[in-house]
């Protein structure tokens, strides 16, 4: 909490400095009207100067709304930070709260020195500066981005894990960029080119192989995020955005695209981001994030303070397209009721759902289950584990359960 007394003193000092303090009107003696009406102190003096924050910041009373790290991360530059979903409303993630996963730290790239090379199986290898790229026609689209390691619950989880811990590696932004299909058309993709290597300009020089069909479908070379240029930790000045695909494929600090006739078998698509099945065979090229939802309130740390009306609200998404339905259960899955979907409902985008509920004060098991336009229904944990085993690690999308206790405490139940 900020020190309100200090804030008041500094403002009065500032007023004196700027010559606005009025002689004979003492701030130490509240007027009769103020005392009678019990007016709050912020109505008895001028607030902060309009120009105090050229780049605005949240209220100091919101300073607990921040990203956090999950678990031990021995290398601070190969680490992640989670979005505080329990504190957010609507579907847009503020840029300072978008989740982060770096493999070699966040580079500080001078956009005037950053270039994108497009080569390999193309007719005309091209080099683009940022000014060259932003001359292409731009598009703005709202899409979620989810780390494929989001929701690490295949093996276990802790009862006190918040929704930030369990689901905070998903975020959503309005991304502005140029269509990758336009850029590739300029270079001329050759027949037989089926895969595209994307490489970042970070210390990891992270690389992934992307199907050319996806690159020509809805891929964006994004340079802006929620109206401003990308944040450094989101790939400034340029990132690949592949709507619906796992976050790791959306290569940040994009410096190179190489077209080829086969996948490049990089470390991030062999050793990592592959999923081991119970028979010892691993699934490779797991791109699309499946239908998924979670209740963000009530959730651990955000339980109802008293019985009575309690809106159940959360987020649903699918990498296959639009969310068409979200059902909510308060009894562990015996009875399901349709939640209302808040407009806008966009493809490959977070969708906010809400259900009015009256809590009787007794124990409850809160769940949400979404269905996407492909017809995929979010599975139960039992069904997911039966299909994939417990060493799959990535792409966990099972129905989540919050246990609400009579006192209002909420914990994770598996």
């Amino acid at each position: 909490m900020p020190d309100k007394a200090d804030t008041g003193i500094s403002r009065r000092r500032m007023l004196r400095r700027t010559g606005f303090a009025l002689a004979g009107v003492s701030s130490a003696a509240p007027s009769a009207r103020a005392a009678a009406a019990d007016l709050p102190p912020w109505m008895l003096e001028q607030g902060a100067p309009v120009s105090e924050n050229p780049y605005g910041v949240p209220s100091p009373f919101e300073k607990s709304v921040v990203r956090i790290t999950g678990g031990k991360q021995p290398f601070p530059t190969s680490a992640h930070m989670l979005t505080p979903l329990q504190d957010l409303d609507g579907i847009i993630t503020p840029n300072g709260l978008h989740y982060v996963r770096d493999h070699g730290g966040t580079p500080a790239i001078d956009p005037d020195r950053h270039r994108l090379l497009v080569h390999g199986m193309v007719d005309r290898p091209l080099s683009f500066g940022m000014d060259d790229l932003t001359r292409f026609p731009s598009v703005s689209r709202i899409h979620f981005l989810e780390c494929s390691g989001n929701t690490p619950l295949y093996k276990s989880g802790k009862p006190d894990w918040s929704v930030q811990m369990t689901h905070g590696l998903v975020s959503c932004a309005e991304w502005t960029g140029v269509r990758l299909s336009d850029v590739l058309a300029e270079a001329g993709v050759q027949p037989g080119a089926a895969w595209m290597l994307a490489e970042g300009a970070d210390a990891a020089a992270l690389t992934r192989s992307i199907p050319v069909a996806k690159a020509l479908d809805d891929a964006i070379l994004a340079y802006a995020q929620n109206g401003e240029r990308l944040r450094p930790e989101q790939g400034y000045p340029l990132r690949l955005l592949l709507p619906g695909y796992e976050g790791n494929t959306c290569v940040k600090w994009l410096r190179r695209l190489k077209l080829g006739d086969q996948p490049f078998q990089t470390r991030e698509e062999t050793s990592k981001y592959t999923s081991l099945m119970p028979d010892g065979i691993a699934r490779q090229f797991n791109f699309t994030m499946e239908a998924k939802s979670v209740i963000t309130r009530p959730s651990p740390g955000c339980g109802p303070k008293q019985p009575g009306f309690c809106e159940i609200s959360g987020l649903a998404w699918s990498g296959h397209g639009r969310v068409v339905r979200v059902e909510v259960s308060t009894d562990g899955g015996a009875i399901w009721r349709d939640a209302a979907l808040q407009d806008p409902v966009l493809p490959k985008c977070l969708t906010r759902f809400r259900l009015p509920w009256t809590w009787d004060g007794g124990p409850a098991l809160l769940q949400s289950r979404t269905t996407d336009e492909k017809g995929e229904v979010q599975p139960t944990r039992e069904r997911l584990l039966a299909a994939r085993g417990t060493h799959y690690y990535y792409h966990y999308n099972a129905i989540n359960t919050w246990r609400l206790a009579p006192g209002g405490e909420v914990t994770l139940a598996l």
């Binding site: 290898p125 299909s181 300029e186 190179r256 078998q265």
Partner: protein, 174 residues
């Protein structure tokens, strides 16, 4: 749908109205392509000239890698995965995924070391040193014998134990 997209692309068309062609960016020079084109494919395409031996890799590993990975690649720092061991565990209740037990291609080792290792100083190794470290890590996993020297011709021929252990995700086929 995908076929249509590919066909349109082959014809130089996209579903949305494309911008007028020409005048975007500039031709990439052979020199700048060569400088940036560092990826190595599973068939060995992209491997540079040079060579390195298990013995050379052993000495270099001790000074450049062991602090994080352990002198035998066996005891990494907390949070790091082992480089060695785990053979035969993938279908068990406690799979251990390492270079030797899990990685399908030896060329990936070269590509990754060259682009991202050592962690505090990526890009600081010569191609000869990367060949040597690749040889040593493969030796630690009993995939190549002592005395092995690797180069662009021999590295792609190294067959990894889990070479056939991967299938494309059936729900995400492209």
């Amino acid at each position: 749908m995908r076929c249509n997209i590919l066909l349109l692309a082959a014809l130089g068309l996209t579903a949305a109205a494309p911008p007028p062609s020409g005048g975007f960016g500039r031709p990439a020079t052979p020199a700048e392509i060569a400088a940036a084109d560092i990826d190595v494919r599973a068939d060995g395409a992209g491997l540079p000239p040079g060579h390195g031996s298990v013995a050379e890799g052993s000495a270099l590993f001790a000074s450049a890698c062991a602090a994080c990975h352990g002198d035998q690649g066996q005891k990494p720092l907390t949070g790091l995965l082992r480089l060695t061991g785990g053979r035969g565990t993938l279908a068990t209740a406690n799979p251990v995924q390492t270079v030797g037990s899990y990685w399908p291609y030896a060329t990936t080792l070269f590509d990754y070391i060259r682009r991202a290792m050592p962690f505090p100083a990526p890009g600081s190794l010569s191609d000869d040193q990367v060949y040597a470290l690749t040889a040593y890590v493969l030796r630690l996993n009993d995939i190549v014998p002592d005395g092995t020297e690797l180069d662009a011709a021999t590295l792609p021929k190294v067959r990894m134990p889990n070479r056939d252990g991967f299938v494309p995700n059936p729900d995400d086929a492209h």
